[in-house]
């Protein structure tokens, strides 16, 4: 389901990336229902303005964020992934955010090994009252990712597979 949602998000984005005015990062955010998503709502009703580069996926708990979602977001073209959850001790499900925190600690190391920079992946604790923090975190992350430039994994995968096309053409020619 999250996979399908990511497909949708990334498909609808193709036009907004790489406009004439330059690179606009695409960031997928997973916000927990009880704290950060509510905070994003609060930011909205408070008329706070933040960068429009973030596409939010609401999850019931930050602990629900399977590392597969994160890698899938990158693989489908996200330039950054942001996760927002309740502060430690405040998780609606008691332990969920700790579970996520532990995964994130190792994921950061693993992503580094895979050549994905630290600033592309971020975890923030944002309570339902912290609408202002949603704004500062998003703006800050968008700026950092903008500096890093596009990640463009789908493009990289396509370019990488160009080395196969020559053989394919030869094989097809032989077949005819």
């Amino acid at each position: 389901m999250a996979g399908a949602m990511l497909n949708l998000i990334m498909e609808n984005q193709t036009s907004t990336n790489g406009t004439a005015s330059g690179f606009e990062p695409r960031i997928v955010a997973f916000f927990c229902n009880w704290c950060t998503y509510t905070a994003a709502d609060l930011a909205g009703v408070s008329r706070l303005k933040y960068a429009a580069n973030v596409r939010v996926v609401r999850v019931m708990c930050s602990g629900r964020v399977d590392p597969q979602f994160i890698l899938d977001a990158f693989a489908k073209g996200a330039d950054g992934v942001l996760i927002g959850g309740c502060h430690p001790g405040d998780c609606h499900y008691i332990e969920g955010n700790y579970k996520l925190l532990r995964r994130v600690r190792l994921l950061h190391r693993m992503l580094r090994d895979m050549g994905i920079e630290d600033d592309r992946f971020r975890l923030e604790w944002i309570s339902a009252a912290e609408g202002e923090k949603v704004k500062t975190v998003i703006n800050d992350m968008v700026e950092k990712v903008r500096k890093l430039g596009p990640l463009q994994l789908p493009q990289r995968f396509r370019d990488g597979d160009k080395e196969l096309e020559g053989e394919q053409l030869k094989a097809e020619a032989a077949h005819v």
Partner: protein, 323 residues
Amino acid sequence: MSEKPKVGFYWCASCGGCEESVVDLAEGILDVVKAVDIVFWPVAMDFKRKDVEAMPDGAILATLLNGAVRSGEQEEMVRLLRRKSKLLIAYGSCAHTGGIPGLANQFSREEILKFVYQESPSTANEKNTRPQTRFAEEGRETHLPELHQVVRSLDQVVEVDYYLPGCPPTPNLLKNALGVLLSGKLPPKGAVLAPETALCNECPRKDSKPQDVAFKEFKRPHLARIETDKCILAQGFMCMGPATRAGCGAQCVQGNMPCTGCFGATSRVRDQGAKMLSSVCSNIDPKEEPEIDKVLEGIPDPVGTFYRYGLARSLLRRKVSTV
């Protein structure tokens, strides 16, 4: 001319263990030969590429192909065998998910060539000679295949009908697969011919797996003793069982070694490494970052640990490289 169905075996980037596993059928191989004609098997029989080329398309019932694809020559052979075979079966971890050769995707081709032909401590290569795809001497020209930029699983190059997982697949698995293929009652295309359950399900130590695990440290098999009667993961050794498909009979665990994940994930999981990382990390005991990091020091190489056989077929496929 015999009317027996034709079967082929081929290898690409692999160690030869998969070929060995066919021989591991022991006298069972006689039953195989009774039922099918082996028409191509470079490691054991003297058929040439031109013999395959001479066959009509689809003449081979099934080709069991092991090894990852990482050179132009392998790609060519894979495409040829795809055309000549009704069914193409990815045999073993390398063809299935990239296998050990897939770990090369942590480096660019340039980094690999530079290390192997220039920097490795055992290399003497003053002229910095690199392999060339073309070489001419005395009017004769030789062509050599080019190393690909990326290591690929078989299905990243051509369509694959079935998968036989394992490093290598066990003789039982092969026997069952041949039985299925010959029966004509084919499973849905794309099926992995092994159980849909996690390895823990068939582990002899299943009952000793505690309900709750809270890791205070991770130990490595060469540095600590593994108790022989208790769940290996619960002892703090990285056993990939929970994120790995069953079907091998938990052979490594029976040899008192942790599962390293060679069967890949079940079909409900897209990325075996991410799933295992998720499961293991969730169950770390501490709650504060410094202490969490200390526990995680016991996993010095997350990519090599969680993607030992599956990096090429993982969501990220390869290191994002600028070289």
